[in-house]
C-alpha cells in the first residue's frame, strides 16, 4: 500500500518545529509501524535528507522507549500495545497518517519525535523503591504473600514508563505512572515500612516536575499499552491522604 505520513520535524530543543509530509510506497501489511519508518528513513537517506529521529529499542513492546503520537492517539489506533507492536495491517492504502512526539511541557522535545522523559526517573529516584541493601535479607519464602495481592501488585508493576499516559492526558498528568508504582509497593508487605513516606515524596516530585493535576478523565488508562487500571490513581490518592493525616515527616 501507499501512504502519506505527516511527521513533526524539529532540529533540536531550541528550534521551532513543523509538520512535514512524506509519501511512503510499497508498504507491506506485515511491517510494524517502526519498520515503515525504517523504510521511510532509508528513502530519505538515499535522497540526501536527514532521517527522522525517533526513540525505539526492544521492538517487542516492553522497554518503553518508543513513543509516537499517531493520528491523535498515543501509540496509535489500537489499545494495549506500544508503537513497535502496531502493524501496518491496521491501516489501508491511501491513508494519511499524522505522527507527533509526546506532547507535555514536562517532556521537552529533544529532536523530531524524541522527547526527554527524565522526569519519570527523577520521580522514581525520590522514593519508588524498597530501601533494602544487597545481602542480609530473609529467605524468599519467609514472606508469604496472598496470590491475589501478588497478582494485583504485578498488574501495577507492568508499567513500562513510556509516558503514553502523560501524552494522552489533557492536563499532562503523570498520575497513572506514579500511582502504578505506589500501588505495587503498597500492596506488598515489603513496601509497608516506607509506605507513607514513599507516596509523599513521589507525589511531591511529580508536582515539582511540572506535570498537571489529575481530573479523572481516564484517557491515561485507555491509552496505556499495559492497560494499567485507573483504580491505581484512587489507591494513590487514598495512600496520599492517609499519609498526610498521619505523617511522621515534618
Amino acid at each position: 500500500m501507499n501512504l502519506t505520513v505527516k511527521v513533526w520535524r524539529q532540529k533540536n530543543s531550541k528550534s521551532e518545529g513543523k509538520m512535514v509530509s512524506y509519501n511512503v510506497k510499497d508498504v507491506s501489511p506485515d511491517m510494524s509501524f517502526l519498520e515503515m519508518f525504517d523504510v521511510l528513513n532509508e528513502d530519505l537517506i538515499s535522497k540526501g535528507d536527514e532521517p527522522i529521529a525517533f526513540d525505539h529499542d526492544c521492538r517487542e513492546g516492553i522497554c518503553g522507549m518508543c513513543s509516537m503520537y499517531i493520528n491523535g492517539r498515543a501509540h496509535g489506533p489500537k489499545t494495549g500495545i506500544t508503537t513497535c507492536q502496531l502493524h501496518m495491517r491496521s491501516f489501508k492504502d491511501g491513508d494519511t497518517i499524522v505522527v507527533e512526539p509526546w506532547r507535555a511541557s514536562a517532556f521537552p522535545v529533544v529532536k523530531d519525535l524524541v522527547v526527554d522523559r527524565g522526569a519519570f526517573d527523577r520521580i522514581i529516584n525520590a522514593g519508588g523503591f524498597v530501601s533494602v541493601n544487597t545481602g542480609g535479607v530473609p529467605d524468599a519464602n519467609a514472606i508469604p504473600i496472598s496470590k491475589i495481592d501478588a497478582d494485583a501488585a504485578f498488574d501495577a508493576a507492568t508499567c513500562i514508563g513510556c509516558g503514553a499516559c502523560v501524552a494522552s492526558c489533557k492536563n499532562a498528568s503523570a498520575s497513572l505512572f506514579v500511582a502504578a508504582k505506589i500501588t505495587q509497593l503498597a500492596l506488598l508487605p515489603q513496601g509497608q515500612v516506607e509506605r507513607a513516606a514513599r507516596v509523599e515524596k513521589m507525589v511531591a516530585q511529580m508536582e515539582a516536575e511540572g506535570f498537571g493535576a489529575c481530573t479523572n478523565t481516564g484517557a491515561c488508562s485507555v491509552e496505556c499499552p499495559k492497560e494499567i487500571s485507573q483504580d491505581t490513581i484512587a489507591t494513590m490518592n487514598r495512600e496520599y491522604y492517609a499519609a498526610k493525616a498521619s505523617s511522621k515527616n515534618v
Binding site: D30, S32, E35, D57, E60, I81, H87, F129, S146
Partner: protein, 638 residues
Amino acid sequence: MTKLDSKIPEGPVAEKWTKHKFNLKLVNPANKRKYDIIVVGTGLAGASAAATLAELGYNVKAFCFQDSPRRAHSIAAQGGINAAKNYQNDGDSIFRLFYDTVKGGDYRAREGNVYRLAEVSVNIIDQCVAQGVPFAREYGGLLDNRSFGGAQVSRTFYARGQTGQQLLLGAYSALSRQIGLGKVKMYSRTEMLDLVMIDGAAKGIVTRDLVTGEIASHAGHAVLLCTGGYGNVFYLSTNAQGSNVTAAWRAHKKGAFFANPCFTQIHPTCIPVSGDHQSKLTLMSESLRNDGRVWVPKKVGDKRNPSEIPEDERDYFLERKYPSFGNLVPRDVASRNAKEQCDANKGVGSSGLAVYLDFADAIKRLGENSVRAKYGNLFDMYAQITGENPYKSPMRIYPAVHYTMGGLWVDYNLMTTIPGLYALGEANFSDHGANRLGASALMQGLADGYFVIPYTVGDYLAGLGTKPVDKNHPAFKEAEDKVKALTKKFLSIKGTKSVTHYHRELGRIMWDYCGMARNAEGLTKAKGLIKDLKEDFWKNVKVLGEGEELNQSLEKAGRVADFIELGALMVEDALNRNESCGGHFREEYQTEENEAKRDDENYAYVAAWEFKGEDKAEELHKENLKFETVKLTQRSYK
C-alpha cells in the same frame, strides 16, 4: 605468549568461593568513598553492580545509551530465572544446578565459575523478593516454579512472561535509590566509545553525549563493562535495536582478550521472518515448550492447513527423538532439529522456514483460561505480530539469534586481561560454555552484579591506594581526540550506501556461514566476504547530519563498524574450533545421530583472542579447562 591465569582457587568445588572470599583483600568502610567506579550499561548486571557498590560506599558513575536505565535489554527476558532453592522438593540442589549448567554448556565452561553461580542463585531470589519483585505465587502465598529446557526439576522462578522486566525494575529501583542519595551519578543517553588506559591499567572511559554530541572523558579506579551481548552482529536477532558490541570491542582493541566469540545461541522459539523489511525477531519464551508440542507434517511439502493434518500424519520430532526430555531439550538441540526439518522441506508457513508449536493438547487438558493465565502476554504478542490467533491454530516458530555465550575473557574475579577492567553478565564469556540453558542469563547477570563484583573489585582497589585518578593525564586527551577523529571520519566519507545497508549485508554473511551450522568451506568464504564488506564500508558509507547533535545514523555507524570487525573474529574462531559443541555446530564434526561431536582431547579450552593491530591477524591464547568434578560425557537428552 601471555599466560592466562583464571585464578580459580584450589580445593573442592563447593568450597572455592567461600575460601576465595575470605582471601580477598578488603577496603575499609571509610576508604570506600575515596574510590570512583565506572559502570557501563544498566541491565541486570550493570544496575545491580552500580546499586550494590554504591550501597557499600563507593562513588559510582553509571552510563547507558537509552534514555533511562530502566530500558536496558534485560527487560525483554520473558521466561524466568533459575535458582537452586529446591522449594518444590523435587531433588534440586546447588550441585544439580551446577551439573546441569556445565552439561548444558557442553563442557566448555569453567567449573569454578559455574558452581559459584549456582551457589549464589539462592541469594538472588531472596534479594529480589525483598525489593518487591512480584514473582508468581501459589495460593498458599509461597513462590511458584516452572520447569525449563535442559532440566528435569522445577527451579525456575517467574513473573508471568515478564520476568526480565520485573527483575530489571527491581535492580533499577535499587539503582534509583542510590541516584537519589547522590551515591550514583547517572548518565543516560551517553555511549562509551573508548577505554582510557594509564600504565597498562583501565582508568576511565571516553563517552559521547547522544543528545549534544559532546565527547567527554570520565576517570575511575575501575571500569565495569556490563554492556550485554553481540547478537546484533547477525542484523536480525532478538536483541534490542541499540544492543551493540562497541564498548567491549574497543576495550578488546586496547588489550582485553575476547573469548569464544563463535559461541552464539540460536533460540528455537521465535516468530519467523515475514519479509525484507524485518528489523528484528521476536522471541516466544522457551517456557512455552512446557505445554506446547513441536511438530511438522510427516509428508514432504505438505501445504495443508494444520487443522486438516490428522494426528498420524504429524511428526512430533522432538518427542520422537528425545523421549526423556521431549520438547524440553536444550536450545541448541531444539534449534538444530527445527533447521533439519526445514532443510528436509518439511517446514511450514509461506516461507517454509518454520515449525509448529501446538497448544491444542494443553488447551484440552488445562482449559483455555489456564493457558491464558500462564502465557497470555506471549499469545497476545504472537497475535499482534502475525495477525493469527494461537489459541485456535498452532504457532509457527523458527530459531533466531538470541544470546552470545562468548565475550570478554575474565578471570574468577571477573577481571579482563586489562587490570582494573571488569566484564559482567552477557558481556563476559565465563559461565555458559558453548550453550546457555534457559533462565540462566538473568541468574548470571544478577549473580555478577549483586554477589560477585562487590567482593572481587575490593581486592583490586585495596592494592591501588586511595589517590584519585589524575584526570589531567595526557591519556584522557589522547583517547578523546581519537574518538573525535573517528566521528569526523564517518561524516567525511559521504558515500552512497546507508549504515543499515552494511549491517544487513553483514548479517546475511554471518547467518549463512557462521549461523546454526558452519563448515570450513563456508567460513573461509565468509572471511573474504567480510573483508570486502569492510573495505566497501570505509569507502562508501553515507552518514548524514553533524557530530554535535542527536544523530542516530552516526551512532549506528560506529556500532556497525565494530560489528564488521567482530564478525571477522567470530569466523576465525569458528574456523579454529575443529569440533562441534553446543551452539557451535561444525557440520564436519557430528555423531551418527547428527548430534554435536566434541573433541575434548584437542579443544577443551577457552579460545581467547588478542588484538594485534588494525587488519592484522589476532593471536590465539588457550586457557585449558580442567574438569575436576564433572565427568565429560557425550550429552544425551534421549
